[in-house]
C-alpha cells in the first residue's frame, strides 16, 4: 500500500515539476504578453495542484493535509483572478494582442 502511495506521489510530484518548468520556459520563449500569460497561468494551476496533491498523498490524513488543501483552494481561486486582472489592465492600457509582429513567411489564413 505504501509502495503504491509512493509511486503515486512520485508521478504527481514529477509531473507537477514538469508542468511548472514548462510554464517557466513558456514565459521566456513566447513572443507576446498575452501568450506569456497563457503559459504562466495554465501551467501554474496545473503544476500547483499536482505538486500539492502529491505532498498530500504523502502526508496522509492530518493537519498538514488540511493546510495543504487550504493552500490549493486559495491558489486555485486567486491565480485565475490575478491573471484576469492583469489581462484586463493590459487591455485597458491599450496593449492589444494584434500588436505582435507576424513572421513574414506565415500563410495568410494563420495571421491574426
Amino acid at each position: 500500500m505504501q509502495l503504491w502511495l509512493d509511486i503515486l506521489s512520485w508521478i504527481l510530484l514529477s509531473g507537477g515539476g514538469l508542468f511548472v518548468l514548462i510554464g517557466g520556459i513558456g514565459i521566456i520563449r513566447l513572443p507576446d504578453l498575452y501568450t506569456r500569460m497563457h503559459a504562466a497561468s495554465l501551467t501554474d494551476t496545473m503544476g500547483t495542484v499536482m505538486i500539492l496533491v502529491g505532498i498530500m498523498v504523502q502526508a496522509g490524513l492530518s493537519l498538514a493535509s488540511f493546510k495543504l488543501a487550504a493552500i490549493t483552494v486559495f491558489l486555485l481561486l486567486t491565480g485565475p483572478t490575478a491573471t484576469y486582472a492583469l489581462a484586463n489592465a493590459a487591455m485597458l492600457a491599450g496593449r492589444h494582442p494584434k500588436d505582435v509582429e507576424m513572421p513574414p513567411d506565415l500563410p495568410e489564413d494563420l495571421r491574426l
Binding site: L13, I27, T81, L86, A93
Partner: protein
C-alpha cells in the same frame, strides 16, 4: 524523499526563469506576470521544502504567502492603472506603459 528534491529543483529552475522575465520583459505587465509567477512558485517551494525538512508546521508560511501574493498583484495593477488614468485625463505627457 527523492521526489521532493525533483520537485524542488524544477521549482528553482522556474524561479530563475521567472526572474529573467522580470528583468527582461519590455512591458511592466510582463514584469507583474513574472512577479506573480515567482510568488506562486515560492509558495510551492516553501511547501515542498517544509516536507523535505520534515517540518509540516512550516506550512503556515506558505499559506500566508499565498494570500499576500494575491494582494500584492492587485495593488500593483490598481496603482498602475490609477496613474495611467490620471495622466490620460489631464493631458500630462503620459509615460508609456513600457517600463525600461
Amino acid at each position: 524523499m527523492g521526489m521532493y528534491y525533483v520537485a524542488a529543483v524544477a521549482i528553482f529552475l522556474t524561479m530563475i526563469l521567472a526572474l529573467a522575465r522580470a528583468l527582461l520583459g519590455p512591458l511592466v505587465y510582463d514584469r507583474v506576470l513574472a512577479v506573480n509567477m515567482f510568488g506562486t512558485k515560492t509558495v510551492l517551494l516553501l511547501s515542498v521544502v517544509a516536507f523535505l525538512y520534515g517540518r509540516p508546521d512550516f506550512l503556515d508560511l506558505a499559506l500566508a504567502y499565498a494570500l499576500i501574493n494575491f494582494i500584492g498583484v492587485l495593488a500593483v495593477l490598481q496603482f498602475f492603472q490609477n496613474r495611467r488614468g490620471e495622466a490620460l485625463n489631464s493631458n500630462i505627457d503620459t509615460t508609456p506603459p513600457d517600463g525600461h
